[in-house]
């Protein structure tokens, strides 16, 4: 019988961008390194972005990505639906990030040098005062997100950044779909206060009702 560690060098099938996650997960579980590599390639950016939003440090986020994938691969047996590998891995990443923040509470960088508005070209074209306001608002928003209860934060981020359905979010967080929607509602309710009145609100109310 072939030793299990030798399976890693077995010939592998080709992976394409269309190869579903569940197929790759099954192959990776059998030691198919190419399938594992394809999973990493496919999901590392989303996972990195998530970790970076939590820890605000590129190197630490990269370490957390690696740890999240290692954890995911060692716990694959606990994954109920291979198709939800992405959301499951994101959840692992979020938990690892939260643990990292808890364990290194005193060492989290205070400056936000890693965080700049994504549309930095647009920001640079604005007058200095507006740029400052934009930066302050962005920081206030990030702070408000950090203050959200964990489930609300995860729900919000998985929905906004990863565009997951509420069903997928519910599966990832092991809550009901209704609970995921309620979490999302509460999170939005808290954050919209920071943004002030919606300039389109009056016009929309006039149209909608």
């Amino acid at each position: 019988m072939m030793p299990s560690h030798l399976k890693l060098v077995m010939p592998v099938q080709d992976e394409t961008p269309e190869t579903p996650d569940d197929v790759l997960v099954a192959r990776a579980q059998r030691g198919d390194r190419a399938a594992l590599g394809a999973l990493v390639q496919r999901h590392q950016r989303a996972l990195f972005a998530l970790c970076l939003r939590y820890v605000r440090d590129t190197d630490e986020a990269a370490d957390l990505v690696q740890r999240a994938f290692v954890r995911a691969m060692t716990k694959l047996g606990e994954l109920r639906e291979a198709g939800s590998f992405r959301s499951w891995t994101l959840r692992i990443g979020a938990h690892l990030s939260l643990n990292h923040l808890r364990d290194n509470a005193r060492f989290v960088a205070e400056d936000d040098s890693a965080e700049r508005p994504a549309d930095s070209d647009t920001a640079a074209a604005l007058p200095a005062l507006e740029r400052l306001e934009l930066a302050e608002q962005a920081e206030a928003l990030r702070a408000a997100v950090r203050e959200l209860p964990t489930k609300q934060r995860m729900t919000l981020e998985l929905r906004v950044y990863e565009d997951l359905s509420f069903r997928e979010i519910a599966t990832a967080l092991e809550i009901s779909e209704g609970a995921a929607k309620v979490n999302f509602h509460y999170a939005v309710r808290k954050l919209r206060v920071l943004l002030g009145p919606n300039p389109d609100g009056a016009a929309r109310r006039g149209r909608g009702r």
Binding site: R45, P117, V182, H185, R209
Partner: protein, 225 residues
């Protein structure tokens, strides 16, 4: 409509409002929202979802643009995850190995306990032999009838070199009562997992039957450590 029914209806409406993401609503939901202040407020809040989402995306940190960063991250992550898969695949074998080690340890403990018991039987209080500094010497004070008849087996064990016997004693001492283990080298967790290149004296002991184990204990008295 009772309060309970209203609460249940409102929960359903809020879920539909969340699902719609501020988009158009079906007629029933529209009608409910028009008559329920709480749901109307929820609708107003949820119409801000696109604005909140835009603000969150704008406030998100930039990702590294250098493709080499992503290639390096993918390489190291794949490497680490592949290693984890390998370890995970090998885990059942390792578990069996650990179980075997535990059995060996149990065997060692049984030998130590038997030796201790025989010591007490053969040397009641007040007739103990002179105090010995090591647990091995304590074990060595045990004598059983018929030892001489088993000279061949005894000589097999006695032929172990000092290092081998010391390891055997460590194995016994790690699980022996404190009084018996005194003077024996400290046991560590690492000692439970012999390295591949280390002779497994404990494995040899584990393969011995009860009589042979007794002879091992007896033979220890004949070796000066």
């Amino acid at each position: 409509m009772t309060d309970h029914q209203k609460t249940a209806a409102c929960a359903g409406v809020v879920e539909r409002l969340v699902e719609s993401g501020g988009g158009p609503l079906d007629a029933a939901t529209e009608a409910h929202v028009g008559s329920c202040m709480a749901c109307y407020r929820a609708m107003t809040e949820l119409r801000d979802v696109p604005r909140v989402a835009d603000a969150l995306r704008a406030a998100a940190p930039d990702l590294p643009a250098d493709e080499r960063f992503w290639a390096a991250l993918a390489a190291r992550t794949t490497e680490a995850a592949a290693a984890a898969v390998t370890v995970e695949a090998a885990r059942p074998v390792r578990s069996r190995g650990r179980w075997r080690v535990r059995l060996v340890s149990f065997g060692g403990l049984a030998v130590a306990a038997a030796a201790s018991w025989m010591l007490m039987v053969r040397h009641p209080a007040g007739t103990q032999p002179a105090a010995t500094p090591a647990g091995a010497a304590a074990i060595g004070a045990v004598r059983w009838p018929g030892d001489e008849a088993n000279g061949e087996s005894l000589s097999d064990v006695a032929e172990l070199d000092a290092a081998g016997l010391r390891r055997l004693l460590d194995r016994l001492g790690a699980h022996a009562p404190p009084a018996l283990a005194g003077g024996v080298a400290d046991a560590t967790d690492a000692a439970d997992i012999p390295s591949d290149d280390e002779p497994r004296v404990s494995d040899e002991v584990a393969d011995l039957d009860g009589d042979s184990l007794r002879r091992v204990a007896t033979s220890l008295e004949r070796v000066s450590l």
